[in-house]
Symmetry: C2
Subunit: 344 residues, 2 copies
Amino acid sequence: GVTEHENYFSREYLSRMSDKRTDSGWLSAKQSSPETVFLLFHNLDPLVTSGPEHMNNSQAKLKLCRLKRDSVGVLLKKSDIVVVFLGVEKQECSSLSSVSKEEDGLIAWFALNVEENPSEILKIEDSHSFFLQGPMPTLLMLNEDEGGIIAQARSVLAWHSRYSFCPTCGGKTKVAEGGYKRTCLTEGCKSLLGIHSTCYPRVDPVVIMLVIHPDGNQCLLGRKKTFPPGMFSCLAGFIEPGETIENAVRREVMEESGVTVGPVRYVSCQPWPMPSSLMIGCISVAVSTDIKVDKDEIEEARWFTRQQVIDAIVKSSKAVLTMPPRQAIAHYLVKHWTCLNSNL
Amino acid sequence: GVTEHENYFSREYLSRMSDKRTDSGWLSAKQSSPETVFLLFHNLDPLVTSGPEHMNNSQAKLKLCRLKRDSVGVLLKKSDIVVVFLGVEKQECSSLSSVSKEEDGLIAWFALNVEENPSEILKIEDSHSFFLQGPMPTLLMLNEDEGGIIAQARSVLAWHSRYSFCPTCGGKTKVAEGGYKRTCLTEGCKSLLGIHSTCYPRVDPVVIMLVIHPDGNQCLLGRKKTFPPGMFSCLAGFIEPGETIENAVRREVMEESGVTVGPVRYVSCQPWPMPSSLMIGCISVAVSTDIKVDKDEIEEARWFTRQQVIDAIVKSSKAVLTMPPRQAIAHYLVKHWTCLNSNL
Ligand SMILES: Nc1ncnc2c1ncn2[C@@H]1O[C@H](COP(=O)(O)O)[C@@H](O)[C@H]1O
Ligand SMILES: Nc1ncnc2c1ncn2[C@@H]1O[C@H](COP(=O)(O)O)[C@@H](O)[C@H]1O
Ligand SMILES: [Mg+2]
Ligand SMILES: [Mg+2]
Ligand SMILES: [Mg+2]
Ligand SMILES: [Mg+2]
Ligand SMILES: [Mg+2]
Ligand SMILES: [Mg+2]
Ligand SMILES: [Zn+2]
Ligand SMILES: [Zn+2]
């Protein structure tokens, strides 16, 4: 049977409706509609609220501020502002459904990023609202629906903030297609002939893997110097050009720990919008066990027994390590393994 | 059990030895070593040979020219040439092994790309050599080892040819780390603070999927206007920022064919160096069957029975469609499905 685990940052709360990105009339009508929802970011930090009135139906401590046209109108008029069309509420989720005043019944969402703190010029009525400093670990404090929205919005906005010039000629670019394209303004630039990746947001595929000991009862975890004391996680690394997922797993594990990996199996993936990675989670089986860490990247790597990671997951007082939070795919990969047979 | 299918473009013939990328002394020693192998590209087309002397052990009609220091010396001296370190021959593959004259016994490979036709200035003795015009379908004519080498070399070289300017400030960049990094030359550029994707080669994750009919006995294939008459293939599309593999499969199938997909399962992946994609191959199950194609992207999409695709795979005279070549992961996905039980 096929079961799909849903990680944090993975939920599709909105329908992206990519066909509307080229419909500038529709986009601008939605931007002036009173139903439309705007999310505001300041240097990629989202405006959130901790107001008690938002907390009734949610376990999350924070909630994205859903601004309306009148609050952001002054920003939309600025010429240098990047506005990204996120999608529309799915019919079954829509807060308005049949009572919508929209002609097509679709509630659109947009995201805006500003570099200067906009609090002065904005009319935001919610006194509990603030820009959530992060990204980590604060971005993990939203609910699952909002985690998915943030993953999309923050990745695209981060691309705009780093890719405003054409990498092919160095010239200026203009935003197009609802924020999903940047077109070079230099006449005759090679990037304007044919279709080129330079115009589109970047997604960096990363492998993240749990390596199982040949005895089937231990797994390999490592720690970076920057981790809190005692915390260990799965090894991970960027997939390189011309490389498969499986070969990237074997290469990164060898580079970072000196361990040779044989079979690799895909388990689950997670968008990681810091700035725009796709974490491809795998489980793999070691065929050697001696550890030799790459000290540039990893401070320590160690084999832990199944019982040791179970103690860490349940936060037992006996635990000899701590684990990344449940919102991280590393946590899920370890937990998933603890439920498998000892030989995978 | 875990079995891994090896697609064309996927073989790791070389060991990348990424730790050597920052060892400029080692890299320049290898560039002046007589054992080192250089691959030459002209506008991303590789220099190959069809000479009969190369054909003895190979089914492939073409072979990459393995140039030596003396043939490319004049190019290496040019200041604007991009040289990419590909890796070293694995000990078990190395043509020299114990009789190597290298101090460390490692045979290094590099790739070079030139924009002007270098035939005039080069000393290439092989009269059967030429730049293989392509990329498609000619790049599929190499053997499996060379397919893997080309996947890496062409992706990185294509990145250099499109990303010579800093996307953050528009300034010039210089090549670093054996061709795996471009560093901005503008003092104070934001890209120099911290680690940013702008400095590293791009890999674009793409989903490619076989969609199975709810009856378990048909699959959905589509054709682009640019396909040869009668050819159908799997639907495919770029993974977007903030999206999982599984959600991208469902979104692209819906966009391109109007079919709703339920469960998705990862099968196998393939680097696709045109210019630098990673094709993530999935099999998925439809929960609706009416087709409504997106005419911008797809000319036609249709359900084909298992027998119809088997006829196409074996190139039967009864075949009502043709399929992509065996080197394409689309071919493998279809073939893989024909061997599965009707309910996955
Ligand atoms: N797209 C990218 N973004 C950031 N760092 C990258 C990227 N590609 C390669 N790197 C390098 O990969 C290192 C992290 O190693 P790893 O995650 O193990 O592959 C970084 O310090 C960078 O030097
Ligand atoms: N990295 C990229 N490279 C090329 N085209 C892209 C990229 N990202 C998005 N696209 C767009 O995706 C279209 C192809 O659609 P699809 O492959 O179905 O996603 C292209 O025509 C581009 O408009
Ligand atoms: Mg790493
Ligand atoms: Mg690494
Ligand atoms: Mg790496
Ligand atoms: Mg497509
Ligand atoms: Mg598409
Ligand atoms: Mg697409
Ligand atoms: Zn340009
Ligand atoms: Zn710069």
